[in-house]
Symmetry: C2
């Protein structure tokens, strides 16, 4: 099981003095600790014992209402009834796997794609169809070829600040993809956790907006409130929606009521509006710091993505490099990352890639980490030279 | 899908003036509302931002430690490392289904058994082997016959105050069942949500204590703290344990950190110890009231279980009665229950049975409900007589 290998790999991350660029973890400084008491008091006052009681599988109504309003403000036109709340967006992906996938089904994914999606789908053992991407994300022609060859049960995509690459699909491609899934009557999972973590440039519309009946839009409170509350959600076409409710009921009955009530307070009280700029303000210099350090220290032949938001930078070394081997050498130098190969649905791809997270460490620490990584790469180059001498 | 049928049936429960004996829901008066502020303050002070952060799939370490100590005090000898935390005990059952079951596997269950377990296992499409029960629960000889015929992947049991019947396995049967699963090297799921809701009689040891390497012990905080926090847990044999962690990671990464931190405070601060007697004090007269009302109002040929704890009483009418038909007549009289047929793994069983919950309504309201139910039954008898005249 790949999952277990990654668990073993990432165990070392918690060693003392380790600088971790490995996680996909928000900085604790991004949590609204100063308002948590107010939120909790508001929940007890407004909802009382209801916040501790069993609730509907669909989600806590006040949270869904607040969420619908929040999404509306961003041009995503959904009602509270369209929304289903899950225990993190990971649980949305699991439910989609349960409802849609089996060993005889095919899922089209980017290469690389989000590791958590592969983990969620794994128990249902689907086959994967590899879509082609470039620096702007999924190439629409590649999707069309996959849809033409047919038999695609669903397509999984992170169009904005993709995990792991940080890439964002431009507007024209979003429209082209929306047109394609409508023409071929296909179902697209639009996983959109990083949308609000934009540090530069203009916000783009979702694909959901262009093809509402063909997209399951997946969102989360993890990056804009707190991941420890485990609050994800989706807006799915009706036929999928009703099966997701049945799956949800069998999986965990419903998502925690107290956490949903806290999120309702966070949204309704105007707290998110006030807090979100602080999160972006916290992460913007970190993105600048890691990109500057990469430019300064890494060899020119190591290409990296230039995201305008999100949590990750993707580094691609020349073919022949093995980042899994490099990983253990980096660990010895007290810096951790995720070898890129785990983000590919097909084995044997991505050995020369790595994912770097920039949200956890401070800017100066990010520079130190990249400098150490550059040292490991330089030493490795020498080793290579000696070995072939 | 049966699940959807039940959802439709139970939708009417929220109608105004409805007396619901349908849910499996704790009374809101059983929640420790008076200490929630203290617990929350304790969590922020002790754990700070850690309570809002991503955490281990296995569960929040301070909660697992507190839980291990709590269980130890009850003679269940597990360490924090043995425990895995899930999003409600429903999520334990889902994970067990994911790890253990497929269309080629067999699960041995009581008839009737817990509906939520059937819902959790349904997506994995196992076959069910029917075990025989009497007023004291599972008959060990029936289990032995099932194990002898072999091919049983796992056995699912609620040995204490079973949902739906309220039945409790006596000590001798617990020992006999432990001996059998050891002899046949079988895996037993011991689902134990109601253990602490004992209003009369002596606590019995778990089956886990007699066969620790053959039992997945499943517990929950839902009945002794608050169900809206969605905190379940299990202690499984090592080989199962490690696969459950992998399944858990793909399903929802981990269970809500804040809720686990609240539960750790609840256990460590001695709050549970002080609060649990209040819950039993609240429910004891309700159990007495529903049993007295059944004795007083229902026809003598309607047999009911006599539990010493838990949340449910099981009523069995003479063969020929159809409680699903009766349900809609009862709804018209503003009283709801769950027709018993949904608790059977095999279709066509249990038409003459019903499950009555006694924890939600006040004692006087329980009497009113049973009186109304008796009226519906009496009217139905007349209809029957007219129809056959």
């Amino acid at each position: 099981m790949e999952v277990s290998v990654i668990r073993e790999i990432l165990k070392v991350v918690s060693q003392p003095d380790m600088i971790s660029l490995a996680g996909g973890i928000p900085a604790p400084q991004s949590f609204p600790m100063d308002i948590m008491n107010d939120l909790f008091a508001g929940v007890l006052e407004r909802f009382g014992s209801q916040a501790l009681q069993y609730d509907r599988s669909e989600g806590f109504t006040p949270f869904r209402q607040a969420l619908a309003e929040f999404l509306h403000g961003k041009g995503i036109r959904v009602t509270a009834d369209d929304l289903l709340v899950f225990s993190g967006s990971q649980a949305v992906l699991d439910a989609l796997g349960k409802v849609m996938l089996s060993a005889s089904t095919r899922v089209a994914v980017e290469a690389p794609t989000y590791l958590g999606a592969l983990q969620a789908f794994a128990p249902y053992a689907p086959q994967y169809i590899r879509l082609q991407s470039d620096d702007q994300g999924l190439i629409p022609e590649s999707l069309e070829a996959a849809l033409k060859s047919n038999g695609v049960t669903m397509i999984y995509l992170v169009p904005t600040f993709q995990n792991p690459t940080g890439r964002t699909l431009p507007l024209a491609r979003r429209k082209a993809i929306a047109a394609l899934i409508q023409r071929y009557n296909a179902l697209l999972i639009e996983d959109d956790p990083y949308r609000d973590l934009r540090y530069h440039g203009q916000t783009l519309p979702t694909i959901k907006q262009f093809a509402p009946d063909h997209v399951v839009y997946v969102g989360t409170m993890s990056k804009i409130f707190a991941p420890g509350l485990r609050l994800g959600y989706c807006a799915a076409p009706r036929a999928v929606h009703q099966w997701l409710v049945v799956a949800k009921q069998g999986t965990d009955l419903h998502t925690g009521t107290l956490n949903q009530a806290l999120a309702a307070e966070y949204l309704n009280g105007g707290y998110l509006e006030a807090h979100l700029p602080k999160i972006c303000h916290l992460y913007r210099p970190k993105l600048a710091a890691i990109l500057a350090a990469i430019d300064k220290y890494l060899p020119a032949e190591f290409k990296c993505s230039r995201p305008q938001g999100g949590m990750f930078v993707w580094v691609q070394a020349p073919v022949g490099w093995d980042m899994q081997a490099l990983y253990w050498e980096a660990i010895a130098q007290k810096v951790a990352f995720v070898p890129g190969q785990y983000f590919f649905a097909h084995a044997g791809e991505g050995a020369e890639t790595m994912r770097l997270n920039f949200t956890m460490a401070q800017p100066a620490v990010l520079e130190t980490a990249i400098k150490r990584l550059a040292g490991v790469i330089a030493a490795h180059k020498v080793d290579h030279a000696l070995a072939s001498a």
